[in-house]
Amino acid sequence: MNQLRPVPGGAPDEGAAAAPDLAELLKACGKGDQAAFAALYDSTSSRVVGLAVRVVRDPAQAEEVAQEAFLEIWRSSGRFDPAKGSPLGWLLTIVHRKAVDRVRSAEASSRRDLTYHHQNQPVAHDATAEAAHASLEGRRVRGALQSLTPAQREALELAYFGGYTHTEVATMLDLPVGTAKTRIRDGLIRLRDNMGVGA
């Protein structure tokens, strides 16, 4: 745990001075406040779409996933519980699950070729990198990721951004099954402790 602990509530923001309170917006959404949802969308859509693109890769499909996720966020907004986590964490959990469901269902019929080169197909997202550099939080995360061992980082990124199961990750990296899940967990714990979130 280092001294860079974010403000209570733990919502990573983009360093903007007047970032809207996402928890308040979600609460208002739960009561049917569409203006609040528009504000929520404007504060989070680049991260939502960024995550969807990173996992799904196809930009058109990623926007579909983002749309589904936002609808789910709207519907479930009244059930967000600030005591259980940050608004952004809650919201991105929904987005990630939708994105993973999309890639898995799309690929279920044609079994994936679990070769290592999959990992080395970078998404063409130079614009992504540029936008991310604008985010202070993004820079901190990149810094914190350097504290992971390369093996942990690789397993975590294949799982989170690749949408692969830990068993698939193990196969791709020629690891015993139990090893991949351990690396994913250890990597997340290290990231968490470095960033001081969720504790």
Binding site: A66, G89, R97, H125, G198
Partner: protein
């Protein structure tokens, strides 16, 4: 099961298959330590998204904002999980018992999950239609005594299944119909049906590898750890 808690990281980043997820969620229900860990690891995982921002198209904003105007947010804590798009269904009180299939005892119902959050993609996509019109669609129909029917349509190619109901009586008050897919003898949560007698519901989970599907009656607002004994219908898939 001794090291099932080691799955917490993989669970937090959605890196479990459906069966593992269901098993782990059952574990979560009785392990506060893992629940807390998953919560904190999800926060950490969400940070990774900070490195991926992409400006979306203006059209997406329009579509999203137009889309929500037709959808009512779920009530907090109580009520079923999918009260939504359809017009408010008058709460029909016909007894669900009248068409219960007395098969509960005969079925090996295994475990279930507890997390019901992302069930039932009724977003304006055509996945449901894709399944219903798939060239390899298989149909399994259950007819109830009172004329209601439930048809499970599965496309292995799409790895999806859709439940189509007609004239289905409402679930008892404060209850909802829950959907399950059976994998290797384990019932895995596949969503909750919206209210209303006539529905088309996309099941979540891997339908292609499932052995069967089921509908049960569950308490609304609860997050059941396994299917109740109120089994409404069972579908056994051909191999």
């Amino acid at each position: 099961m001794s090291d099932i808690h080691a799955l917490s990281g993989a669970y937090a980043v959605d890196a479990l298959d459906d069966i593992e997820r269901a098993q782990f969620e059952r574990h979560l229900a009785e392990c506060p330590a893992c629940t807390a860990e998953v919560s904190s690891l999800r926060e950490a995982a969400a940070l990774l998204a900070e490195t991926t921002a992409v400006a979306p198209s203006a059209e997406l904003r329009d579509r999203v904002l137009a889309g929500i105007s037709a959808v009512r947010p779920l009530p907090p804590l109580v009520g079923d999980e999918t009260a939504t798009v359809t017009a408010l269904e008058p709460r029909r009180r016909r007894r669900v018992v009248t068409f219960l299939v007395a098969a509960a005892a005969a079925v090996a119902i295994g475990t279930g999950g507890i997390v019901w959050q992302q069930v039932n993609d009724d977003a304006p996509t055509s996945q449901t239609d894709q399944v219903l019109t798939a060239s390899d669609a298989q149909r399994f129909t259950v007819d109830f005594d009172d004329g209601a029917t439930a048809t499970l349509v599965r496309s292995k190619e799409l790895n999806k299944a859709v439940l189509v109901t007609e004239d289905m009586p409402a679930a008892p008050a404060d209850h909802a119909y829950a959907l399950w897919l059976q994998h290797d003898g384990v019932m895995v949560p596949a969503g909750i049906m919206p209210k209303g007698p006539d529905n088309e519901v996309l099941l979540s989970g891997d339908a292609a590898t499932a052995e069967g599907a089921g509908i049960t009656v569950e308490e609304a607002g609860e997050e059941p750890t396994e299917p109740s004994d109120d089994v409404v219908a069972l579908f056994t898939f051909d191999a």
